[in-house]
Subunit: 411 residues, 2 copies
């Protein structure tokens, strides 16, 4: 099926808002085996909207239009759709009762302008909007399917999932199934992982591999199409190959984050954790406490920017800092041991480094020590990250969380 | 000038990557008085690219094309441009020496495939690329200007700013100047700020006001056009009105962030700061230490998730937690006083609250106490934020930083 998308809105055209709907529609369709052919973006004016609908209907068998269904004076989509397809614009009973119910349910003031949202071209099929005022609609015209949805991303996606995608899939009379499997990697480059999986994609069997860098992690997505059994088998086989070759770099699967994975592992292990952060400045604590229920394993963290704080809160000997420097293997170890003893936690993670500015020749920006202490002892690793302050802090934080993940996974 | 944009790339069309170039080009043009008419997105295939260039050149006097200039087999833009405009594709000396220099400078392996990037349609003007391998080019065709730029956002924007925008502005022979002024607000809704500035926009004099919500802050942008003197006067007048009516809600101007503003105020005041965070879990420390040079005023932070940590690190009396609860006015005050005394800092900011889950009837999720201690005493405020865990944590963090901003501004 040839399908195009159309976004409508001055705020998108003038760059005030990034048009994220185009990508979310495309990704959802792609996972169901439909590739978007073209995407067009026009402003809030009738001639451009009408022209765009006409052109896209020439090019494609289906057009998904988002935006311009609101109650204000600059919402022209329904009227433009009626004009292009030679329909009349009438108050639609189904849409009107939804508008009344919804505005009532939300307890807002009821304005007659709101009723404008129930003006729908004749002979349309209504697309219900469970979370907003404006219904969408489907017009069948010259053998083309035209779908109209509101531009608010959350409403649009819900309506797409509930109504538009099932409608399209049914008409595709598709015998192929599409399946995907997602792995998130850290500690390996895109080129290296690509190289290691080079022989995996197989156009004949219907297995493809896509890489997407989301610094500093990499998403690897397996995608298979065919009959349900072969899709399951392909993903099973592909997943095993990925796990075998990239095992230690896989930080999460199925779209989970490293933070969530570390949280899950901590919870399952029954071990408690404390933190001592210098250059990461609270970033590790922030990410761990982003996870609901983290108080079950996370006890406390010390953000020790000053040397005095390292000594007082973590019992790091002042002499050690003077002799070795605050950014050193010994101080990292003392911080981890101090945090663990003070908090009485099973594990402690400590970080000290130079994020920049303030680098010296001996300790250039990017030099970071990460220590992990448990009941048996303490292991410190030295890292040399490249990038600006923001990147070094992010790499430090993710590397520290990954150290914890590896520890909890392999013991 | 009628101008359209075209993005090229399967990764955009399949929704793997959001097409952010369209918005960044549009916003930069809009600030210079040029509105984009349409934006089109097509995949990596020659017929679609050729068709798109032709259509957009019909509609507009200028087309800015991004993407498809790389060295790989799926980069078709230069060849499609040559075919549409009836030019030959030849090795361009200027582009070739740039490619050789750049690849050499980057120390990578030199592949002949890389030289493909120097294949440019004849009679083009080269657009230099200071930060990447692929040069851009300008084709003048049938009285239309066609600009071709790489899709990598950082490279594209640099080339747009350096070459394309000056080129367009020169040809516009524009007598109007466009000026903007940006204010960032916190603690007031979009509707309220809109209401307070309702009389400010003036189409006749050329002053407009745009609001953009970037939760939980709001950007207000004044935009004026006309001759240089009247633009300056309009922005001056408009800026004064905004400052007068919204004074206390303005957290930053000119695109700075609240974090940067707080950092600047702390540095100027010469005061040092310590933090005690419970429900914000290190988020405040993380944001403050994002700012380069923050070690000049930020001494330390305690992320005290457990009650034991509150007692040990901040000297909060255990009895107080038992009697009043960890989320209480008294504990917030004790945390701030404890942090200030322990760290020996001029100021201390403390936060305790329920981000959820784990709310009780008495202390529902969103209940947060924020305390600010200085040499003269301690002030605690109680807040009731709504939203999910993520939103409550963000609102807590921004409100705490805003408390600090207000304190440092008004004394």
């Amino acid at each position: 099926m040839k399908l195009s998308t159309l976004s409508i809105g001055d705020e998108l055209l003038f760059g005030e808002v990034v048009d994220s709907n185009a990508a979310s529609i495309a990704a959802r369709l792609y996972d169901r085996g439909v590739k978007v052919q073209r995407h067009l973006l026009v402003g809030d004016n009738e001639p451009d909207i009408m022209d765009a609908i006409e052109r896209l209907a020439e090019w494609s068998e289906a057009v998904i239009v988002t935006g311009g269904l609101g109650p204000t004076a600059d919402d022209f989509t329904a009227r433009s759709a009626a004009k292009v397809t030679g329909r009349r614009l009438v108050l639609n009973d189904e849409a009107l009762s939804h508008v009344r119910e919804f505005v009532g349910a939300e307890g807002g003031l009821y304005h007659s302008a709101t009723e404008r949202q129930a003006l729908i071209p004749t002979k349309s099929t209504i697309i219900p909007n469970p979370t907003g005022t404006a219904c969408g609609f489907i017009i069948t015209w010259n053998g083309r399917y035209l779908f109209f949805l509101p531009g608010v991303p959350s409403e649009m996606i819900r309506m797409l999932d509930d109504t538009v995608l099932p409608f399209i899939q049914e008409r595709l009379r598709q015998r192929v199934t599409i399946g995907t499997r997602l792995f998130t990697l850290f500690g390996i480059s895109e080129a290296e992982s690509d190289e290691l999986l080079r022989d995996l994609p197989d156009p004949e069997s219907g297995l493809s591999v896509a890489f997407r860098v989301s610094f500093p992690t990499i998403d690897v997505k397996l995608r298979a199409e065919g009959d349900p059994d072969s899709v399951a088998a392909l993903l099973q086989m592909g997943g095993e190959v990925v796990r075998e070759r990239l095992a230690e770099f896989i930080v999460a699967e199925g779209g989970a984050t490293l933070d969530e994975e570390v949280g899950r592992l901590l919870r399952e292990s029954g071990k408690s954790l404390s933190l001592a952060e210098s250059c990461s400045g609270g970033f590790i604590a922030k990410r761990l406490t982003d996870i609901p229920g983290s108080s079950a394993y996370f006890l406390e963290g010390a953000v020790v920017y000053s040397n005095a704080a390292k000594c007082r809160l973590l019992q790091v000997p002042k002499r050690l800092i003077m002799e070795k420097g605050a950014v050193s293997r010994d101080v990292a170890e003392a911080m981890a041991r101090g945090a663990r003893e003070g908090a009485g936690s099973d594990l402690a993670l400590a970080v000290t480094g130079v994020a920049g500015p303030g680098a010296s020749e001996e300790k250039p920006a990017g030099t970071v020590f990460i220590a992990l202490a448990d009941g048996a002892g303490c292991r410190v690793e030295e890292y040399h990250f490249s990038g600006d302050r923001r990147q070094v802090r992010l790499l430090t934080t993710i590397t520290a969380l990954d150290r914890l993940r590896r520890y909890l996974t392999t013991g």
